[in-house]
């Protein structure tokens, strides 16, 4: 039986079934073609209004959603926290309810608090798409990463994927892990012990503190952005040492499989977690991720906005 999309909201990869992920991928493939046309637009969401609600600075995710919505012919409004009522102390619920009162169909939200997307979804009737909540999940990034892996490696089943870097503060890592586990990949998380969250192995991943000992087995290296301000929290002593211990350099690449692919959610700290030669090199699929991001977000906007809402 064909899977139907039934969720009003798109909050996490954790709550998706394998079938739902596959449904999104199927839709993604057909929307990907739209972006290659001369006229890059389909009328799928004509007359629908989507609000981008960003409480954290973001360029690529916000733009990616904006492009995705426009290619589906939806009207999209942008709302960022600076210069808005939130800086005047308005609560999240009040902000969202005001936006909803303008009959918005779907709210795309980026917010610094973990769980804020789920909280918002409980408060409003509009659909909510999580565009990153604190350090919890970034489910659209997770799915676009996995879609890109699938495109390059044909199947996720049995694939060896290593997430490298700050796992503790990474919503991208959590979304990757949930999705990859559901599709049968074998995952290693690799980073300094201070940036590996407690109990992570209960999610069914292997933990390594030594990239050199695990790099040779990996089909995919998904390199996470190291947040430079973490140095202040004594998570690691210096950027220099981080780069030496975990940075993917050309030397390190020599130990990797010939057909390994290099991914990064961006923006890259060149020369820190990833050498420029590797980021721009033949094994990098970083720009494919950006291209696929639009298509995956089109699929997610499409399904959640058109789902039958209970009144």
């Amino acid at each position: 039986m064909k899977t139907q999309w039934t969720k009003k909201d798109f909050l996490s990869v954790e709550e998706l079934s394998r079938e739902e992920i596959e449904l999104i991928f199927t839709t993604t493939e057909s929307f990907k073609e739209v972006s290659t046309r001369d006229v890059k637009k389909v009328p799928a969401l004509r007359g629908k209004t989507i609000a981008n609600l960003f409480f954290e600075p973001s360029t690529r995710t916000r733009t990616s959603f904006e492009v995705a919505a426009k290619r589906l012919s939806a009207d999209i409004i942008n709302f960022s926290s600076s210069g808005s009522s939130t800086s005047k102390g308005e609560s999240l619920t009040d902000t969202a309810k005001n936006i909803e009162a303008m009959h918005v169909d779907t709210i795309v939200m980026r917010h610094p608090s973990s769980g804020s997307a789920e909280y918002l979804a409980r408060c409003v009737k509009a659909g909510v798409i999580n565009a990153g909540d604190g350090i919890h999940e970034h489910p659209t990034q997770g799915l676009l990463d996995i879609f890109t892996m699938k495109e390059n490696k044909k199947s996720i089943e049995g694939l060896r994927v290593c997430l490298v870097g700050d796992i503790l503060h990474s919503r991208v890592a959590r979304s990757n892990i949930w999705g990859l586990k559901k599709l049968g990949a074998r995952i290693t998380v690799c980073g300094p012990p201070t940036l590996i969250p407690p109990g992570i192995e209960k999610l069914g991943v292997e933990v390594s503190y030594d990239i050199d000992s695990v790099i040779k087995d990996q089909d995919v290296l998904n390199i996470l952005r190291i947040q430079l301000e973490r140095q202040k929290g004594a998570f690691f002593p210096s950027i220099r040492e981080y780069a030496a211990e975990f940075g993917i350099s050309t030397d390190r690449m020599k130990k990797a499989k010939k057909d390994v692919i290099i991914m990064h959610p961006g923006p890259i700290n060149r020369g820190v977690e990833l050498a420029s030669e590797v980021a721009d090199g033949p094994r990098s699929v970083i720009l494919d991720q950006v291209t696929n991001g639009v298509a995956v977000r089109m699929a997610i906007l499409f399904h959640t906005t058109l789902v039958e809402r209970k009144s």
């Binding site: 609560s91 608090s113 973990s114 919890h136 407690p198 109990g199």
Partner: protein
């Protein structure tokens, strides 16, 4: 006024009474506890099928007045206490302003007198404004009615300040109630650190944030000979240290709260802000350790840490919501489950909710001896009820137990020989 409580199961652990008895009260005092009392009374309370015990005392509540009357007032807090079967409560000093002067103690006691509901036994701050820098006037606070000292909500992180407070407290025989939290390890966390915090992406608070301070404070109690009481203990690690300290003769006591023996950090799932308190809910292993420690006496007291917060404050992103839950109206029922689970006998339960609190605070309560002040709690251990928001007396409704089916509830409460709760209804003055 003469009151006769007839046919109840009287539990008075201090006087080793545990059986069917009548209790006769005259002129605000207990006059007789005996098998069958035939004295004529102005009022008779039928206690058949019920437990009659010395009034329950909650050593750890937040009444929010003055300063945060939108969360709770002395009146709504004391009403909640009566519904929960408490004849007396100890409000913590973290009001606005902080209760760090004699007049603050006198205000609280005066308000309770005026309201004529339950008693207030105030806790004064250890340091001015709870800033952990300068000591308050312990002598003055005691004269104003303080029964204990605490900077609850904060740790006293400067060990030397706590040392001086401990030493100085000995002159007044005041117990210091410590909130153990190593600020460095706490590190802005908002739930227990572990698999659940990893899964939810919430900053975690390791159990060691509590236990390293418990370890330090045991050493300070030993160094100074002061009486230290550990507030709201939540973790196995802390309890192992306290058990060992008690065995070696340290003058330390400890409390826990019902949520720590009924809930784990899984209650935080779906970012439930009513499962957010400090210290945080921990794991099943900790819950099991707390039950063992209640049984073996490592934990002396069941308190509530009743911490009301307005709905608009709790209705927020998890990391932005304040810590704390209400507990006065559910504590007895939740603690009675320990009796059902054979963790505690009824007499042990009464000990932890009445006898020990009175002993540690050095107040003449917690027993039904002849001529003692008649603070009496009567509860029906079989009475079934459901925790409903609308029916709570507390001004705030932030309980993780909303909707829970409960068994056992206070039906009658006497404070200083006066009926203030009758058949579950508060008698207004």
């Amino acid at each position: 006024m003469k009151i006769l409580i007839k046919g109840g199961h009287v539990i008075d652990p201090k006087n080793k009474i545990d059986g069917l008895m009548d209790v006769f009260i005259e002129d605000q005092r207990i006059k007789k506890v005996a098998k069958s009392v035939s004295e004529k009374a102005d009022k008779q309370i039928d206690a058949r099928g019920k437990i009659v015990c010395p009034g329950l005392i909650d050593v750890h509540v937040h009444l929010r007045q003055p300063g945060y009357e939108y969360k709770e007032t002395i009146e709504t807090g004391l009403r909640a206490a009566l519904k929960g079967g408490f004849t007396g409560v100890c409000p913590m000093p973290n009001t606005n302003p902080i209760a760090d002067r004699r007049s603050d103690m006198e205000f609280l006691i005066g308000e309770a007198k005026r309201l004529a509901l339950g008693r207030i036994w105030p806790v004064g701050a250890v340091t001015l404004k709870e800033e952990g820098k300068e000591l308050t006037e312990f002598g003055e606070l005691k004269k104003g009615g303080a029964v204990a000292l605490s900077d609850d909500g904060h740790s006293i992180s400067d060990s030397n300040i706590l040392r001086r407070a401990c030493e100085y407290s000995r002159k007044f025989d005041l117990v210091i109630m410590v909130h153990c939290q190593d600020e460095g390890l706490f590190c802005g966390g908002c739930m227990n650190e572990g698999f659940m915090s990893t899964r939810l992406g919430l900053p975690g608070i390791p159990a060691e944030s509590e236990s390293v301070e418990v370890a330090r404070d045991i050493q300070l109690a030993d160094l100074t000979g002061a009486r230290l009481h550990f507030c709201h203990i939540s973790s196995k690690k802390s309890l192992d240290l306290i058990r060992q300290a008690k065995a070696q003769g340290s003058r330390v006591t400890a409390e826990t709260c019902p949520h720590y023996f009924h809930l784990t950090d899984e209650s935080v799932l779906h970012y439930n802000t009513n499962a957010k308190m400090n210290p945080p809910l921990r794991t099943q292993e900790d819950v099991d350790a707390i039950k063992r420690s209640l049984k073996d006496g490592t934990i002396d007291i069941i308190s509530t840490d009743h911490a009301p917060h307005a709905e608009s404050e709790k209705d927020a992103e998890f990391d932005k919501a304040p810590f704390g839950i209400i507990g006065l109206e559910t504590s007895l029922s939740l603690s009675l489950r320990l009796v059902e689970e054979k963790v505690l006998s009824l007499a042990e339960l009464v000990t932890k909710m009445s006898v020990k609190p009175a002993e540690i605070l050095r107040i003449d309560r917690g027993h039904l001896s002849q001529d003692s002040v008649a603070d009496v709690t009567i509860f029906d251990p079989g009475l079934e009820w459901i925790v409903e928001k609308e029916k709570l007396e507390s001004k705030s409704k932030n309980s993780p137990f909303l909707g829970w089916r409960m068994k056992g509830r206070a039906t009658d409460v006497l404070v200083e020989g006066r009926s203030v709760l009758e058949d579950g209804v508060i008698l207004d003055k």
